[in-house]
Symmetry: C3
Subunit: 294 residues, 3 copies
């Protein structure tokens, strides 16, 4: 039975002007591979599995451009009948994604902050609410927003390398993870682990991430692709409709919470990020990063 209040489809954001899903009888769109600037997308039509590969060196940071491309790519796949699952991974060695691009949050206008934050929300709403099977192949470090992307998938495979770490480390930077980052995190690791990890801004090395349930399994780097394919096949063996309804039932409360507070959340972000103390923290952090590189 469909539980009360669970929609027959997952949450579908309206902002990006989604086209209607292709009706069954039509020929499939000739959508084999489309490469853009920052994300490479490949669709294997025989299996119905797409791969989104982040290729925005040096660290796949989530700039406004990156987020926009991510949302457009994901939506194309969502609307493509030939696509039932998406693997999200990185083409940049040692890094999955470094999270939100700090340059978008530093010394910009209020309008820019609003646009940027709306894109961050949109990315999460689309990914966490996707009807497709989503598997993260975390083949590098994945702090903050990078971790959020992994947490929003249905399954997380991480490379068995203790040098790679993952976590919502916002507190280390003097900022606070938004409530919907927190809700997503709690849904994965439970309240206690989330409370401790968020307060400490912990970045968990891969073995610890496995122990805390932050990722589902670790595999050697050379086995990631094989393993990811096998997991995807297991999930795709289920009938789509029942699986989608079940996913929606599990995630709807948390998705609805952001939808209900979206503008408020943008205003909160703007007023927080505009504080001189926060701007100063971020500038110091960026300088530290530059020194590290140099």
């Amino acid at each position: 039975s469909v539980p009360p209040g669970v929609l027959p489809l997952c949450y579908r954001p309206l902002t990006w002007g989604r086209a209607a899903r292709q009706p069954p009888g039509l020929p499939l769109a000739p959508c084999r591979a489309f490469s853009n600037n920052k994300i490479m997308v490949e669709l294997d039509e025989s299996s119905g599995v797409a791969t989104m590969k982040f290729k925005s060196p040096p660290v796949n940071s989530l700039s406004l451009d990156f987020l926009t491309e991510f949302c457009i790519s994901l939506e194309k796949l969502e609307n493509n009948r030939a696509c039932r699952g998406v693997i999200i991974t990185s083409a940049v060695p040692k890094i999955f994604s470094s999270g939100l691009d700090i340059t978008e949050m530093c010394g910009k206008s209020t309008e820019h902050y609003a646009e940027f934050w709306r894109a961050v929300q949109e990315m999460w709403l689309q990914l966490y609410g996707s009807n497709m099977v989503t598997v993260a192949a975390v083949n590098g470090s994945s702090p903050a927003g990078g971790c959020l992307i992994a947490l929003s998938c249905d399954y997380r495979i991480m490379v068995e390398n203790p040098k790679f770490s993952i976590g919502l480390n916002e507190a280390q930077l003097g900022i606070v993870a938004p409530f919907w980052f927190k809700d997503t995190f709690v849904n994965v690791v439970g309240h206690r682990v989330a409370e401790r990890s968020l307060q400490l801004g912990s970045l968990h090395p891969a073995p610890e991430a496995l122990k805390f349930g932050l990722v589902d399994e670790l595999v050697p780097e050379e086995k990631v692709q094989e393993k990811t394919g096998a997991v995807m096949a297991q999930w795709l063996a289920l009938p789509d409709h029942a699986r989608q309804l079940t996913k929606s039932m599990m995630r709807k409360a948390v998705l609805d919470r952001l939808v209900a507070h979206r503008e408020e959340d943008i205003q909160n972000f703007i007023s927080f990020i505009s504080k001189e103390s926060i701007q100063k923290s971020l500038r110091m952090y960026m300088e530290m990063l530059k020194k590290k590189k140099g």
Copy 2:
């Protein structure tokens, strides 16, 4: 202290016309054992422990008749002052219960679907909200509705046999576990394990069920009765009143949610199950089962 909003008694469904609990001074009802068609009930008055043994071969499926008998039996025990705890187990080898009887959901009238679903709800409301200590001795496989019965007890002992499995595998059949199955599951195993297991429609072999917390312990088949008795004695050592209030405090939110949406849930079930695509899935599944047997 009694927390606000926690009733002094557990939830007690009104549908089945429960008689008032016997006042303390009266002699105990001469209720030693009553056997029916599908469930054998025995009460040991010296210990205050009843056993409900499913004996509806081949697979103890939850038909309307079975559910009605279950509710009447459980209510009799609930109202019997001599009974403080119930052990639920199976008299059929290798199977605890196969879950909801698919023949009740296939090719029947709307009225029948409504009556059947109300009985499923009633079974859960009575069992999950029972004032008695409830222990499941899972001595065989326990998919779907069978798993729900186990999850609704206070404690789960499973036979240490990897051939026996347990889980809410509805998604495998192309259907969706109702929200209150999901709520009960999340209360036992947490959000992440529930999300993955429900989406995949997983049936967990006994050792995996233990690992995920789906059952509390595994014992060899020949020790089940002894162990169940010992666990029951441990729980009955507590003063009834405090234990009942505590149980109610833990379970009330989830019980109330179904009570508040009961008719809506029935309508959802009817409209879902009446779909031709769902009927087709169920017919195919039944034919597959027949072939397996033949």
Copy 3:
């Protein structure tokens, strides 16, 4: 970003007439150490870490006087700019705290019950909602209210001695843990462990407490101080503001629930504790304790 509905400061109870936090420019209050009757408080201004040591033999029970002193001490530290973290521990061998003082709940007036219960609530609201880093060094047994104090801290270190146990064992005494004890417990160990432990009124020996996540780590008695200091230093390495906002985000829902139902909760406590059956249970329990001593 600050999530909607998350205050810029943690919950701050108004009841005790809190003074405004000292503005940055002023000299620090000469608050090095203040000893009272039941709790010894020491502040190390160089590290910003205070220690609250319970010294109310024989068992550090939470009498009205103890609770009042606890709240006044904690509030002084909360308002002292030099103090960023508090370690809570015991100066009485083998016992952290035995929990609520039963003599305060037995044979007293309604007014007394109300005053006592308000003080219990206040203690929890201040501690669970504290802006400071709070670490419990559980160096002895910690039943009921003693366990609540530990659960309300940010981190729990327990002495590695299986003779020391911890748990919300109210049900053993025929009483029921209040809903906010339960909420705090669920936030630490999850729903399933809490349900079972509360219904059985379990006191978990240290190794089991670790297994269930009731405490974060065990250390030999002689290492407790060193380890507690190291953990505190780790938590204090984070910027206060971000850590405080994060803590508030995690705990606000549960704190708000008591604030919204505070008077109702007091009335419930009074009517429950005033029952002759409960009074009788408590008298029997006290006599049992006396015999044990004698």
